[in-house]
Amino acid sequence: MSGIEFSFELERDGFQLNAKARLPGMGITALFGASGSGKTSLLRCIAGLERAGMGRLTVNGECWQDSAKGLFIPPHQRALGYVFQEAALFPHLRVRANLEYGWRRTPKAERKGNLNHICDILGIGGLLQRYPQQLSGGERQRIALGRALLNNPRLLLMDEPMAALDRPRKAEIMPYLERLHTEADIPILYVTHDLEELARIADHLALVEKGRILKQGPLAEMFANIDLPIARDEDAGAIIKTQVTGHDDGYHLTHLHFCGGEILVSRIERAVGEPLNIRIHARDVSLALQPPGESSILNVVQAVVTEMLEQGAGRIMVRLDAGGTPLLARITHKSQSRLGLERGTPVYAQIKSVAVSI
């Protein structure tokens, strides 16, 4: 019985957590919601740090908590990795001892991570002899991340683990997290405010609103749903399952195939035949009625308009169907009129290849 199934109730003055859901027991599930919506509270409940509330929690078949039966596995027996929103490093321990804290307490047989390896990924090798007070904000956050990873967790809870990190640093860390859940099969609950980061890393998305799970589902499905609040985001866009079909070494391009056609992207080091999810921002898709002439836009896909939604300020979100694959395009009201777009209109969707994020 794989899956993270929970139902928590927690009362606080002016706020009520009432979250109930069954999230996948593998992959990265993003928790997305406004400030104060209850994301941290939910993670704390799952970690067993909030004993007060009523709750039930089953993680991949193991029951961790059931208030009705009086069952409560304490946090230290849950084999978690929790990256707190504030780094929460132990002030009396040097960075090395902080990193090794959970590691030392893991039974030898379960130890998987490797200190040096994690230090390399996080770029913290030079800081091992420091105390937490002697670190910058981003450095602290990376140590906290490393500490949780070295705890050899069976479930990773991450509360905005990269909010203080710059983009290149994030780009270095994210592939590691992805590998972690694919190779080591550790489910990750990941809180973030950044749709970009989320789209890049998550497989599954749960929207949190006012202490409830508003809606949840596979990332591609959630992103293609133009009725959800995330579709209003600047970074809204569709996620597409593709397969690597070849490389063009001269131009450093990779050919990707999906149901609706072919897409060219900047070269990616993946073997031919491998599956690959890519994301196309709604703002990067433009529509035309005729096949466009010569331009720097490499990718043109034939599609049909299936749904349109006014988003205010003259913007319209258009949902397209490209051979069974949903695509989103954000266009202006004016464009819609000029092109005479309606449900069922066949269009050419132009996609700038470099805007595809992996």
Partner: protein, 219 residues
């Protein structure tokens, strides 16, 4: 220095060390309980701990004497009673110095950010493990204060010891009484020497302890 004074010095050191050790052992869980508990008894226990302080030591000693006598509540549990024994002295000193140990510890425990404990609990540390790996090191200044106050107070303690000790050389005659006797007997020179020595010795000990503590806190 008379041989009696030297043996008094030893008894004093043994007493102070034993007492502060026992106080730390007892006071630590008590203080931790006081910080953690939501029991209604908490406040009453806090007040009780501080209570022995308000009685004059000789009076406290008098009541202890009654309790420790062979037919007293505590002494009755032993064959010969505990009055006039080293064990009795330790009990008396410990009772009297308890608040000096419990209160600094309680404050130290209280000022630990709970996030540290939560983080440790997600890192596989059991409550006991958390206590030793997080709480103890983070409350080091509190322990230093507790230990020095407890130790110093026992060295200087006098009234209780006088009352339940019986001034038996080598067993219950402590330095404070020896100095006192010299003063009473108008042997001022000896009193000055002993006091001066005690002060110097204590100063050096305290100085070393505090210096180490200060070094630790500026990494």
């Amino acid at each position: 220095m008379e041989s009696a004074d030297i043996s008094a010095l030893w008894v004093t050191l043994r007493l102070a060390l034993t007492t502060s050790l026992i106080l730390l052992l007892l006071g630590t869980p008590l203080a931790w309980w006081l910080v953690q508990t939501r029991s209604r008894l908490k406040t009453a226990v806090e007040a009780l701990v501080a209570l022995p302080l308000v009685l004059p030591p000789t009076v406290l000693g008098f009541y202890l004497l009654i309790a420790l006598a062979p037919d007293g509540i505590i002494g009755g549990m032993t064959t010969h009673g505990l009055a006039f024994s080293f064990t009795g002295l330790v009990i008396g000193s410990a009772l009297y110095s308890l608040p000096f140990v419990v209160q600094p510890l309680q404050n130290a425990f209280c000022s630990i950010n709970p996030l540290n404990l939560e983080a440790a609990s997600t890192l596989r540390a059991s409550p006991l493990d958390r206590f030793f790996s997080i709480v103890l090191p983070l409350s080091r200044p509190g322990f230093i204060t507790a230990a020095t106050l407890g130790f110093a107070h026992t060295v200087g303690e006098f009234g209780v010891v006088l009352m339940i000790g019986g001034n038996i050389p080598g067993e219950t005659q402590v330095l404070s009484i020896a100095i006192y006797d010299h003063v009473e007997a108008l042997e001022y020179a000896q009193a000055h020497w002993l006091s001066g020595g005690l002060l110097l010795f204590s100063f050096i000990i305290l100085f070393l302890v505090y210096r180490q503590n200060n070094r630790w806190s500026h990494p």
